[in-house]
């Protein structure tokens, strides 16, 4: 008998989509209990269009080929002391932020997609989530392996997962993902697959990976190239999720819009760390944060939201605020870390003259007016032997958990404060966006584990900040923190390079 040829779509349907069945012996809602409480209406899961049709045998094959190449590079990198080829030892600090702040989010994504990969009633959506779950596990593990060699030669990498659970500024990324995972399964997908992976990923993934390419970091950039095809799959899932939800029922539109508004703002706040990384931490610059924002959000995002207008979806709320923020946010964020550099798990520094000039050129409207004078003052104080650290602990925004250092965007000399009262308690926010998110779901955000509050309440050891850093964060105080000048990282680098 001659077998008929099957096209990919039919083959995938037969091999995969038809595996599930209607229950006869149990209530199917007991097996998939979380589909309704968010108010999302799914009328027909069979309308799900598989964003990619990858069977497991093909997946094993492609991914194993990629891993083989990737690990060959890691081995060569370690064998040849590849860390000596980075542009400047300051660069390693961008990687410390990546391993302590971003890699644990890949792990949370693995967990979040395992949850949705178990809970969605539609087999197509479920399996797409499962595929992403295992990809995300790949990413966290290959990142740990890519950084493993750096950890042997630089400080600040060594206790990344312990730090992620505890350190004050790492509660920004951690709370972001905790927020998504603790939400319902549909909000999780809108948050991570759409708002993050589809709309904002080029502003997270690409800056770090391009930064690696520009700064001689072969291990990380090879990981980046290797993960690219995974990321492309994740982005197609993000787009399918949005279209599917919007096409299933018109009642879904306002719910989805609210989630887009929320997660766009959550995402931009998280990305302020990337902004400062791009503008201040990369010795060889890729592009300015402002340029990245214009290309990847204003242009690409703008046309995406034009496409979505036919479903009744508009640009995220406060997108116009971000147009002003792009001029300020990286400068304000790095200034916060420079101030609290004694309590950070990576090194901080004052930009060089050449870097100050680059910032002036890239930010003609704001840098010379507001920020250059600060750095020149810091420089002068440092030269006088008075490198300053802010000895206090900052107030944190109760939503994004970033220290309250961002200003009003129309008046960059005025710190922005917003507040609300809930159940007799007052809560503080850095922006209208964060305020609105809290007010919409106060019972969620009153739970925030705010690191500074926790320190003051005595839940992180102490009594002094240094005790917290040493005993609770397990930092090697004097090695992991403080300015890069005089750090063991710098001393070792100079010794390797034969610089006195």
């Amino acid at each position: 008998m001659a077998a008929k040829k099957l096209n990919i779509k039919d083959k995938y349907r037969l091999l995969t989509r038809d595996l599930d069945w209607e229950f006869s012996y149990q209530d199917r809602k007991e097996a998939f209990p979380y589909e309704e409480f968010e108010g999302i209406k799914i009328t027909d899961w069979s309308k799900w269009e598989d964003p990619f049709r990858l069977t497991m045998d093909a997946y094993w094959k492609y991914q194993a080929e990629k891993e083989k190449k990737l690990y060959a590079i890691f081995d060569a990198f370690a064998q040849n002391n590849g860390h000596l080829n980075i542009s400047d030892p300051r660069y390693a600090n961008a990687l410390k932020i990546f391993l302590t702040g971003v890699s644990p989010l890949e792990y949370q994504a693995f967990q979040g997609f395992a949850h949705t990969g178990r809970q969605f009633g539609g087999v197509g959506a479920r399996i797409a989530c499962q595929m992403q779950s295992i990809d995300e596990l790949r990413h966290v593990q290959t990142q740990i392996h890519a950084m493993s060699h750096y950890n042997k030669f630089f400080d600040g990498f060594q206790d990344w997962s312990h730090m992620h659970d505890r350190v004050w500024y790492l509660s920004v990324p951690k709370s972001f993902f905790d927020d998504a995972r603790s939400a319902g399964p549909f909000e999780y997908l809108v948050a991570i697959s759409f708002s993050f992976e589809y709309v904002l990923t080029n502003l997270l993934f690409v800056p770090f990976m391009s930064g690696a390419a520009y700064n001689g970091d072969m291990a990380t950039v090879t990981f980046g190239f290797s993960a690219q095809s995974d990321e492309a799959r994740h982005m197609t899932l993000g787009l399918e999720v949005i279209k599917f939800l919007l096409e299933q029922h018109e009642d879904n539109v306002p719910i989805v819009q609210k989630w887009i508004d929320k997660w766009f703002w959550r995402g931009t706040r998280l990305l302020s760390i990337v902004a400062m990384m791009m503008d201040y931490m990369l010795p060889n610059k890729v592009m300015s944060w402002k340029e990245a924002w214009e290309v990847y959000f204003e242009e690409a995002g703008g046309s995406l939201f034009k496409d979505l207008a036919r479903y009744g979806i508009r640009m995220p709320k406060y997108a116009e605020t971000t147009e002003k923020e792009k001029e300020h946010v990286s400068h304000q964020a790095w200034w916060i870390f420079y101030n609290y550099g004694q309590a950070a798990g990576f090194h901080t520094w004052i930009p060089t003259d050449k870097e100050l000039d680059w910032l002036s050129e890239k930010y003609p409207e704001t840098f010379d007016k507001y920020y250059r004078p600060r750095w020149e003052l810091a420089r002068q104080m440092e030269a006088e032997g008075k490198r300053f650290y802010n000895p206090g602990l900052p107030q944190l925004c109760n939503c994004c958990q970033i220290p309250m250092g961002f200003t009003e965007m129309d008046d960059p000399t005025q710190i922005a404060y917003r507040q609300t009262v809930y159940n007799g308690e007052r809560y503080h926010f850095c922006s209208d966006g964060c305020h609105d998110i809290f007010v919409d779901e106060p019972e969620k955000y009153v739970q925030s584990w705010l690191p500074v509050h926790q320190i003051f309440q005595g839940n992180c050891g102490g009594p002094g900040v240094e005790d917290v850093l040493r005993d609770y964060y397990r930092m090697n105080v004097g090695a992991d923190n403080l300015d890069i000048k005089g750090s063991p990282d710098e001393q070792r680098w100079n010794a390797w390079k034969g610089v006195a």
Binding site: L14, S161, R474
Partner: protein, 327 residues
């Protein structure tokens, strides 16, 4: 003779990450160790899940099993992602060659009508069983605790999807890609009284809440019994009755079964050795699901293989339970 290339050696500040050094000493670590231990967040979760406010996001309390250290569940295969996909890629390459050979030589045509009908009735419906197994292992992945066991459950879950797809391909080989064998097998799964016990049991596993109990039900009891019936006894029956070529199509599953049995047995042994309370729980769960599974599989085993078949499968399960100390 050896040749020696001179390289410059730099003295590292430390040999591995601090969490690995705390567990194993500051010495060069394996990739499995660095990718596995302490990777999952442990504390200071910000918000309770809206979908399960009685628990933290990562919570040891989603099973009654208690462990001093959830990273005691070291995978004897030491699979991290790269090692796992590498191993499965080799197995699938072999399978691909087998399937290609089977199709090129039209070996399906050499199967008698009886064998072919038997395969559609007994083998192809297992794709639905594998689908439930996929979901049950995803359940452990999502709600289990500690990367050591959750990553292994994810690999097993993805394996089960792959196996469901292989069973589907067997159906397509038998029906010349018309999909009729898959429809017929699904009809059997939904309506044939032979399958209803097992289908009801699969549905019951999908509403079971304790993820470790579910691991016992699915990965020990059901898989042990079904595996013994299908991959040992039915395979032998096919070999004796002119269906030996089918083994080419199930070789992946045979190899997979050996590979993952090592892991399942190691998990059970570790959990049981931890405490008497754990051992008692595991014993109760194993007995409970053994009883249910024996009843569910009884008509199927009899029809497929004869009166003695189920006893043989149960004997193997007993042996594994004894080895883990939970009989």
């Amino acid at each position: 003779m050896t040749i020696e290339i001179k390289t410059s050696t730099l003295e590292p500040v430390r040999q591995t990450y601090a969490n690995i050094a705390r567990r194993f000493g500051d010495k060069p670590a394996t990739r499995y160790q660095e990718a596995t231990y302490d990777v999952q967040a442990e504390t200071n979760f910000h918000y309770r899940p809206l979908w399960q406010p009685q628990h933290e996001l990562n919570d040891k309390g989603r099973t009654a099993i208690q462990m001093e250290d959830w990273y005691a569940f070291r995978d004897p295969r030491q699979y991290y992602y790269g090692a796992y996909v590498g191993q499965r890629a080799r197995m699938q390459e072999n399978a691909e060659n087998n399937y290609a050979f089977f199709e090129k030589r039209n070996l399906a045509d050499r199967l008698g009508d009886g064998i072919r009908a038997g395969l559609i009735r007994f083998l192809v419906p297992l794709r639905h069983v594998e689908h439930a197994a996929n979901l049950n292992n995803m359940y452990g992945t999502a709600y289990g605790y500690g990367t050591a066991i959750t990553q292994a459950m994810l690999y097993d879950g993805m394996d089960r999807l792959g196996i469901a797809q292989y069973f589907s391909r067997i159906g397509l080989i038998l029906d010349g890609n018309s999909g009729e064998a898959l429809i017929e097998a699904k009809r059997a799964w939904m309506e044939d009284p032979l399958w209803q016990g097992l289908r009801a049991l699969c549905e019951e596993t999908l509403v079971t809440r304790d993820w470790f109990e579910l691991f016992v039900a699915q990965d020990l009891v059901l898989d042990s019994l079904i595996g013994q019936l299908v991959y040992d006894q039915y395979d032998a029956w096919l070999a004796d009755n002119g269906g030996q070529d089918v083994a080419m199509l199930t070789e992946f599953m045979q190899e997979w079964r050996k590979d993952r049995t090592r892991w399942v047995d190691a998990v059970l042994k570790t959990a049981a050795a931890e405490s008497d309370d754990n051992r008692a729980l595991l014993r109760d769960w194993a007995a409970k699901w053994r009883g249910k599974a024996a009843e569910a599989l009884s008509p199927l085993a009899r029809e497929m293989l004869g009166e003695e078949a189920l006893e043989q499968a149960l004997a193997e399960l007993e042996k594994r339970m004894a080895k883990a100390g939970i009989n």
